[in-house]
């Protein structure tokens, strides 16, 4: 085989999460009480448009979560076994190969052909002059630098035409397969779709899909020839870094919840259902954990982890593995600080449910406690869990940036928006400023968090009984 699959811990967990989500989807589709609120979410144009954007992020993150090591080309005679590169790559790295490999010397501005900082260059006559060297990859295909404007315009136009074709194809497919009623012409269906007269807000979804397609087409056409968002201190393409950071953001936002959910659910429900000493104990645990300001608890945890890793360096020699363990630990520690809130909510709700007549009726029927908890209580608190999960997501993504800035976030060598901001913040003092790393990180983060917030809002409105009026 030309490659060897590498499954990192976080990869495994994210695919587990994907499986859980799919299973939930199937379960929800079969249960009316779940289908009805989701139907309400589906009718919300803003939420569905946000979902399309979110889906683009998620797909990027998933593609970035298939890791492997390439086989090295060693002459057959010398190698008894196949030798694989120590570098762990992902499928996304292959798809973005030009972005990944076009590494310049140091800073360069977006679409620049010359480096941002002047360098001492030795002239053929032996004298030294300070000049802005030409970049190695950006605009390499240009014959004269003056052609840049025209070249960019041509590439943009090509991207626009490509995305228009693709978008029309998708829209037509949606109109034909999803919108068209029996006996209706495809043309009429398309008309209804464009006028927004569909139950599911296809128009809004296609609009945001159009934006996504256009962005992807722009990157595909321009990314190989220029550095769209410039390069950073070590000459790495900033756009590529921002894209690679998507996975980190997604993982922090989802795995943290996945890690803490079983504890919060089990503890909250047990405390509320059994009361007595079980309740006292669980309350004590979460009172203790929540009394430590969460930033400080994370600091304490990460510092301790740093020390442990430094003293057991041998176990974390592979850089990908080290990054991965650090990320996972961060998720666990974040989970420890966030589960108490959910646990408290679930405990309160369970105590309320425990006195509901239908639980009392189940007790009177002789149903066992474990069955009451799994069959009655957990299904009736799941809406709280779901609301909590979607609302937590964006907060965690934002927290990652802050923690990385403080120095207790993900591994400093890992691609993350927090690290990008942290690395670029000092360059704000330069004149003119190096703004593109910051801008890229904030833009990517803002888009994802906004989409997540809009979607979470719709989910909360649909699932929270108090929101129904």
């Amino acid at each position: 085989m030309p490659f060897k699959l590498v499954i990192l811990w976080t990869d495994a967990l994210i695919y587990l999460l994907l499986a859980v989500s799919i299973a939930y989807g199937i379960y929800a589709a079969r249960h009316e009480h779940l289908r009805a609120p989701w139907r309400q979410v589906r009718r919300n144009p803003l939420a569905m448009a946000a979902l399309v954007v979110l889906a683009a992020y998620i797909v990027t993150g998933l593609v970035d979560s298939i890791h492997f090591r390439m086989r090295l080309d060693v002459p057959r005679a010398q190698a008894r076994h196949a030798i694989y590169s120590p570098q762990v790559l992902s499928v996304l790295d292959l798809l973005c190969a030009p972005l990944r490999t076009h590494v310049e010397q140091t800073y360069s501005a977006p679409f620049a052909l010359y480096a941002f900082t002047p360098q001492m260059v030795r002239r053929p006559d032996g004298s030294h002059v300070l000049e802005y060297p030409r970049l190695r990859y950006a605009g390499a295909a240009l014959k004269v630098p003056g052609d840049r404007g025209r070249d960019i315009a041509v590439r943009c136009l090509r991207g626009a035409v490509e995305s228009l074709i693709l978008w029309v194809a998708v829209a037509a497919a949606v109109a034909y397969w999803r919108v068209r009623r029996p006996g209706e012409s495809a043309r009429a269906a398309f008309g209804r779709l464009i006028r927004g007269e569909t139950d599911t807000p296809w128009r809004a979804m296609l609009a945001s899909l159009g934006a996504v397609i256009l962005s992807v087409a722009a990157v595909a056409n321009l990314g190989g020839a220029y550095h769209i968002l410039g390069t950073d201190q070590v000459g790495q393409d900033v756009l590529f870094e921002a894209i690679k950071s998507i996975r980190t953001g997604l993982l922090i936002g989802t795995l943290t919840t996945l890690v803490m959910l079983p504890f919060a659910l089990a503890m909250g429900v047990m405390a509320g259902y059994f009361g007595g000493w079980v309740d006292d104990l669980i309350q004590y645990i979460y009172a203790t954990l929540s009394s430590i300001p969460s930033v400080l608890l994370i600091v304490a945890g990460i510092l301790s982890l740093d020390l442990y890793m430094a003293n057991h360096a041998a176990a974390f020699d592979n850089i990908a593995q080290r990054q991965d363990m650090r990320l996972l630990s961060l998720c666990v520690i974040l989970g420890v600080t966030t589960w108490t809130g959910l646990c408290r909510l679930l405990r309160g709700e369970t105590m309320k449910l425990r006195n509901m007549d239908y639980i009392q009726a189940a007790v009177a029927l002789g149903v066992r406690s474990r069955r009451i908890m799994t069959r009655h209580i957990i299904p009736n608190v799941m809406h709280i869990v779901l609301i909590n999960v979607v609302l937590n997501f964006s907060g965690l993504v934002l927290a990652e940036a802050v923690l990385s800035y403080v120095g207790v976030g993900v591994d400093p060598s890992m691609n993350s928006w927090g690290n990008m901001i942290n690395g670029a913040r000092l360059e704000m003092a330069r004149d003119p400023v190096v703004w593109w790393s910051l801008a890229a990180a904030f833009l990517f983060m803002f888009t994802m968090v906004l989409a997540a917030n809009l979607f979470a809002d719709a989910v909360r409105d649909a699932f929270d009984p108090r929101m129904r009026k």
Partner: protein, 676 residues
């Protein structure tokens, strides 16, 4: 008399996700100055919505007034801008609501809340005096102190009095009272109704009294209008209305009220439920549930016809027939009531006590007890119904839960078929649970909203190991549904798809699924409309006779007791004050509390000639029940008893035997040392 308020063709629609609900669909009504008009209807008939629309207090933005006028003098209330409405609300039309618990602002003093109604230009002292005047006028003792108190420091009845004071402080021309006594106990209801009538007489204001209770309407109204599915179907002066209701719906309502006179017959039921208001009606709205309906009723909307002040919307009274020929009531269906003798007791409760500790202080020491149940002895025979009667907070629900071991008894014995339930471990108790089951009050809270009906019905069978095979459980669930009068198609549906009455049927089916001998019915009909209540009572009685079930029937409704029970136990503050066979207790009540309860029940006087009702205030207990934390010494009832003697304040009365089956605990009767 000139009309004070003239409502004409009022239509209020609600925009919901399920479509447009025509909650009020063309209501016309006149109220004269000083008149008392009862707007009668079951839940969902639109009566409250109509009243809210008058004050433009509909929930926004869902509700909208589509058509109509409401003239208060020259002013059309429905088209008055919000700014001017403020001069109408509270000043010309005041309103009191059903739930005194939630209708007062919890964080403001009563004085502040009532003062808000008074002109802001008045000096503070004048407002204070005025508020105290009104607090006094509604019968709140020590008004100077109450002025500074917060709502939570008042009992439910007191809160409703405060609401009335707040409404009257603006000296309105019209008082809209939206079910003001529904949330109150029957003795308090009688006090509040008396108060309202008295205040109306003194101030000369008109009153629009919204209620679902025929007897309450009889007590307060000069005229009655009946609403059904968004429109008024009948309206008449009180004597004419109670002397001879004309609309088939009204007639049925009268016959669905349970009572002793109907003991030997099935209660009249109105089949089905109120039609969905999202549709546009073509014919009569009641046609589908009406015994007399014919083709015309389903195709043409009946017109409103009035003859000598008695209006009705029904095709029966159209054309040549005229209004003077009321339709003869159908003969009630008699059912042979198989009275089973006392026989072997199935359930015996001896000296049961349930105390809830009150913790306080640094170490949370127990500083007191809520004596919810304080020494109750009762027994239920096979195939018989014991009614446990009492007002809210007297501990009757706690008894039910303690028998089921859903709360742990503090002391006493619970014997079921000679087994001490109170001594058993939870796991040993589990197989016995199939023998005694429970039905709760609120049909909306007693079914898990996340479970299919089939899952709900099969849960007990699964837990008790009845019908281990899936197919067996399914077929049994279908049988159960049939037994309670629901179709098998219900199996694959969720509880929210059913109406309140249907849900209560499901609860009964769930209880029956484990073949119990005794069912504890905790107010199973008090959340239901009268017509639906009749269906459930009929069902419970039929099941008792078919399956020889025993019921412990917990209720506050004496009409239901008279209809269903064999024995009665009257409870006050955690203790039984009187027990006996139903006719002994209800016809010859001995304990002053039982007498007061019976006197307080609003009733439609036996003669339907339309004489003014006798004020029920004679013999009513004073004030409200004290807290079970500190029950009065001696007889618990002495603080409210009009006949209390010195002895009552010190000694708890021993049981006195009135007959072999009739016992009472009161110093008015010589103590008997026989077995209690």
């Amino acid at each position: 008399m000139p009309a004070l308020l003239k409502i004409d063709g009022l239509k209020v629609w609600f925009d919901t996700t399920g479509g447009t609900v025509r909650a009020v669909d063309g209501v016309s009504l006149d109220i004269a100055a000083g008149e008392s008009m009862a707007l009668l209807g079951e839940s969902g008939s639109g009566k409250s919505v109509a009243a809210m629309a008058l004050l433009q207090l509909l929930p926004q933005p869902a509700g909208r007034i589509v058509a109509g006028r409401a003239l208060l003098g020259e002013r059309d209330l429905l088209r008055t801008p919000e700014r001017d409405m403020r001069t109408v609300r509270g000043r010309r039309i005041a309103m009191i609501f059903q739930e005194p618990q939630t209708s007062l602002n919890p964080v403001m003093t009563l004085g502040d809340q009532i003062s808000e109604v008074l002109p802001a230009s008045w000096p503070r002292r004048r407002r204070r005096e005025r508020v105290i005047y009104w607090l006094d006028a509604v019968g709140i003792s020590d008004p100077g102190r109450r002025y500074r108190e917060y709502p939570h420091q008042l009992s439910g009845g007191m809160k409703q009095r405060a609401m009335i004071a707040m409404a009257l402080a603006g000296e309105p021309e019209l008082l809209v009272a939206d079910e003001p006594t529904t949330a109150l106990d029957v003795t308090i209801q009688a006090q509040i109704l008396d108060l309202l009538k008295e205040l109306q007489r003194r101030t000369g204001m008109a009153m629009l009294f919204i209620t679902h209770d025929l007897a309450v309407a009889y007590q307060v109204a000069d005229r009655v209008a009946v609403m059904y599915a968004g429109e008024i179907v009948e309206s008449a002066d009180r004597p004419a209305f109670f002397g001879g209701a004309r609309h088939p719906y009204t007639q049925k309502l009268f016959r669905a009220v349970p009572g002793r006179g109907k003991r030997g017959e099935m209660l009249e039921v109105i089949p089905g439920g109120v039609p969905s208001l999202t549709q546009e009606f073509r014919g009569c709205r009641f046609a589908d549930r009406c015994d007399y309906a014919w083709d015309l009723c389903r195709t043409t909307m009946p017109a409103w016809r009035v003859e000598s002040g008695h209006g009705v919307r029904c095709h029966l009274y159209g054309g040549a027939a005229g209004l003077s020929t009321p339709v003869a009531a159908p003969r009630p269906v008699a059912v042979p009531v198989r009275e089973i003798g006392p026989g072997q007791p199935l359930l015996q409760v001896r000296d049961l006590k349930v105390h809830f500790p009150i913790h306080s202080g640094i170490l949370r020491r127990v500083v007191g007890q809520v004596r919810a149940v304080d020494g109750v002895t009762l027994s239920v025979g096979t195939g018989r119904t014991l009614a446990l009667v009492g007002e809210s907070g007297c501990g009757k629900t706690t008894i039910g839960k303690a028998i089921l071991q859903l709360v742990a008894p503090t002391a006493g014995e619970v014997l079921f078929e000679d087994t001490r339930l109170d001594l058993m471990t939870p796991s040993a108790l589990r197989p016995l649970r199939r023998r005694l089951q429970v039905i709760f009050q609120d049909p909306y809270a007693s079914l898990d909203p996340r479970m299919l009906v089939s899952e709900i019905l099969e849960e007990g069978m699964h837990a008790q190991g009845i019908e281990v095979a899936t197919a067996g459980r399914h077929s049994r669930a279908r049988d159960l549904l049939e037994q309670v009068g629901l179709g098998a198609e219900a199996l694959t549906r969720y509880p929210h798809e059913f109406s309140g009455g249907q849900r209560q049927r499901l609860c009964i089916a769930r209880a029956l699924s484990v073949e119990p001998r005794l069912i504890i019915c905790d107010e199973p009909t008090s959340a239901l409309d009268v017509s639906v209540q009749a269906q459930i009572l009929n069902l419970l009685r039929r099941l008792q006779q078919e399956l020889s079930l025993s019921y412990l029937f917990i209720t506050h409704n004496l009409g239901v007791v008279e209809y269903l029970a064999h024995e009665v136990a009257v409870m006050y503050l955690g203790r039984l004050v009187e027990t006996g066979v139903v006719h002994e207790v209800l016809e010859g009540p001995r304990h002053p509390y039982t007498q007061a309860l019976l006197a307080a029940v609003p009733s439609i006087a036996g003669n339907r000639t339309g004489n003014a009702p006798v004020p029920p205030s004679a013999g009513l207990p004073r004030g409200e029940a004290p807290s079970p934390v500190n029950p009065p010494a001696g007889c618990h009832y002495h603080s409210r008893c009009p006949q209390a003697m010195a002895q009552c304040r010190t000694d708890y009365p021993a049981p006195s035997r009135i007959s072999a089956t009739h016992w009472v605990r009161c110093h008015l009767y010589p103590a008997d040392t026989g077995p209690s």
